[in-house]
């Protein structure tokens, strides 16, 4: 069995959860087995995970699991995996998943691959799976030789696919150990898709000259429902919050569309965004290195180009809606 450990946020499932079940379902097909989902803590609509290919959903309903303590989660998930006889456990490559993957590997005596972006294959009976490495500059293929395997799935690398209908949710009786980490506070920007999950990203660099100029970038983001990001010097200068910093030392993202505005395209910046599906670069310097990594480029003054692009997008959206 392939067991996917599905995360919720405030009791609700979000897109990464459906991506994960889709991946688990397709992995189960490769391996000739079934995919089941494991849900921890308060959750609404767990039966819906069946739509994406979970043949069954197991729920450990204990409100102490509403906050994540990796020690507790790993204890519960590994017990569930053993009880259910799951050979492959898959989680999201998220702040929660990354905290768990290593623990699960140790507990289940499992080979682990972090941040996979392709389905595994069985080659002569050997389990192989690929993941991006060297900050997006290469792809590595892993061979997992242990009986048990744990994988974490890179965000936005598998689109959710409906393959069935809702399924039964079964309560799983597992002793939840007491945690040693106390969660005091969760501060999230409400109403915006977090960067690692965003399909559309509008990003600004030092070319914007100062925080007071971010309005034009926010207008553009708003026109298409994009999330905003920035280059490192922009975050370092506190023009923008740190969680917007993308790149080698910030976060790595892979949106469908990345619009880079007034960013030169230093190699450390590219390391965090070079896996984006489509890259648009707006820069007044035709020699800016970013153009080499771009699909579409506009050479011009961003203070003129960006408002024009926003207007064109608004017009396009209005036509689409009409």
């Amino acid at each position: 069995m392939v067991l996917v450990l599905v995360e919720t946020q405030k009791g609700k499932f979000r897109k990464p959860a459906f991506e994960l079940v889709t991946y688990g379902y397709q992995t189960a097909q490769v391996l000739g087995t079934e995919c089941a989902a494991l849900v921890l803590g308060t959750a609404e609509g767990a039966e819906e995970l069946g739509k994406y290919g979970a043949s069954k959903v197991y729920h450990v309903q204990d409100s102490s699991l509403d906050t994540m303590d990796s020690q507790v989660y790993a204890a519960v998930a590994s017990q569930a995996a053993s009880q259910l006889g799951a050979k492959v456990v898959v989680i999201n490559h998220s702040s929660t998943g990354k905290s768990l993957l290593g623990r699960l590997a140790v507990r289940l005596n499992a080979g682990s691959v972090a941040g996979v972006n392709g389905l595994p294959v069985l080659e002569g009976g050997v389990f192989k799976v690929k993941k991006p490495a060297f900050s997006g500059k290469a792809i590595s293929e892993y061979e997992v030789t242990s009986d048990a395997k744990v994988l974490s799935l890179m965000g936005n690398s598998f689109q959710p696919k409906v393959v069935g209908g809702p399924v039964a949710v079964e309560k799983l009786d597992i002793d939840v150990p007491a945690g040693r980490v106390v969660s005091r506070e969760m501060k999230r920007v409400e109403g915006v898709t977090p960067l690692p999950e965003a399909e559309l990203v509008v990003s600004g660099g030092r070319g914007l000259k100062g925080p007071e100029n971010w309005g034009i970038l926010e207008d553009l983001a708003e026109a298409i429902g994009a999330t905003t990001a920035c280059s490192r010097p922009v975050a370092d200068a506190d023009w923008r919050p740190h969680h917007e910093h993308v790149g080698q030392t910030g976060i790595a993202i892979r949106p469908n569309l990345y619009i880079a505005i007034g960013i030169s395209g230093a190699i450390q910046h590219l390391a965090g965004v070079n896996n984006s599906q489509t890259i648009v670069v707006i820069n007044k310097d035709p020699e800016a290195p970013f153009f080499k990594a771009a699909d579409y480029g506009v050479v011009g003054d961003l203070f003129e180009v960006v408002p024009r692009l926003t207007e064109a997008l608004r017009k396009f959206k209005a036509e689409q809606a009409g």
């Binding site: 303590d69 990796s70 020690q71 998220s94 702040s95 990354k98 905290s99 993957l101 290593g102 623990r103 140790v106 080979g111 682990s112 972090a114 941040g115 192989k128 490495a133 060297f134 997006g136 500059k137 290469a138 590595s140 293929e141 892993y142 030789t145 242990s146 040693r180 980490v181 106390v182 005091r184 506070e185 969760m186 501060k187 915006v192 898709t193 977090p194 999950e197 399909e199 559309l200 740190h242 969680h243 080698q248 030392t249 976060i251 469908n256 569309l257 190699i267 390391a271 599906q277 489509t278 648009v280 080499k292 699909d295 579409y296 480029g297 506009v298 180009v305 024009r308 692009l309 396009f316």
Partner: protein
């Protein structure tokens, strides 16, 4: 207070990424290596700051061959008190974690630091593994860490925001941007580093369970399509009809 910092050696951030031996190994010819930035700038510096404020020792540990000693000496020059190198070329995160955990088990550290991830394998796994081997709490992606007596308050990066957590010593923590500011070693530090202990210990036997066996480079990008700054309708059309992203 006893602090352990796990450090890794990685190619420098602008290094040319290429592979050799039938694409089974990283081609290190002409590549400069550095201490993994998360380990150096954030984990190590915060550990040293805590030691400066609360006393105790900072030990760095690396699992790797003798050529890693230059990176380890840099850590000592920045301010760690002593270093340990487990003398083996590791092939997986689990292997590295096992070696670190076996060493740390004897030593009873109060805090074990790791970096958020390495910039070569991008796994983010070692901290959690060490914590599990030692049955210790683990807090990942820490951006601030303050200590009052036995109790630490830590903020950590989560998707689109942050979480504040509390935990008692001992614990394992992985460090992200915000934890500290990079420190450049000074001449005195470099001189002193030469005299600080660097203990080389043998690995414990352990079998790898998952290993990277081959590498490929992503397909080269096709040339950029330039759009006139006066024709943003054209860019919108391309994004819609050609790229199909809006």
């Amino acid at each position: 207070m006893k602090i352990l910092v796990c450090v890794s050696k990685t190619p420098e951030t602008t290094a040319r990424i290429a592979f050799t031996n039938g694409n089974t190994e990283f081609d290190s010819s002409g590549v400069q290596f550095i201490m993994n930035p998360y380990d150096e700038w954030y984990a190590l510096v915060r550990a040293i700051e805590l030691q400066e404020a609360h006393g105790g020792t900072v030990t760095i540990i690396n699992v790797g061959p003798a050529e890693n000693d230059t990176v380890i000496r840099k850590g000592l020059a920045i301010g760690a008190d002593e270093a340990v190198r487990v003398d083996v070329s590791p092939r997986s995160a689990l292997y590295v974690a096992k070696q670190i955990a076996e060493y740390a088990r004897e030593q009873q550290f109060d805090i074990i630091f790791a970096g958020k991830e390495t910039i070569d394998h991008n796994g983010s796994e070692v901290g959690a593994m060490v914590a599990e081997y030692l049955d210790m709490p683990f807090i990942s992606f820490a951006t601030t860490l303050s200590l009052e007596g036995e109790r630490a308050t830590i903020s950590r990066e989560i998707e689109g925001g942050e979480e504040v957590q509390e935990v008692n010593l001992p614990f394992v923590v992985s460090a992200a941007k915000g934890m500290a500011e990079q420190r450049i070693p000074n001449m005195r530090g470099i001189m002193m580093a030469k005299k600080k202990p660097l203990n080389v210990i043998p690995p414990v036997p352990f079998e790898d369970l998952a290993v990277a066996t081959s590498y490929t480079l992503p397909p080269a990008k096709t040339a950029v399509k330039l759009v006139s700054p006066d024709n943003m309708d054209e860019l919108v059309r391309l994004l819609h009809e050609e790229a199909k992203v809006i």
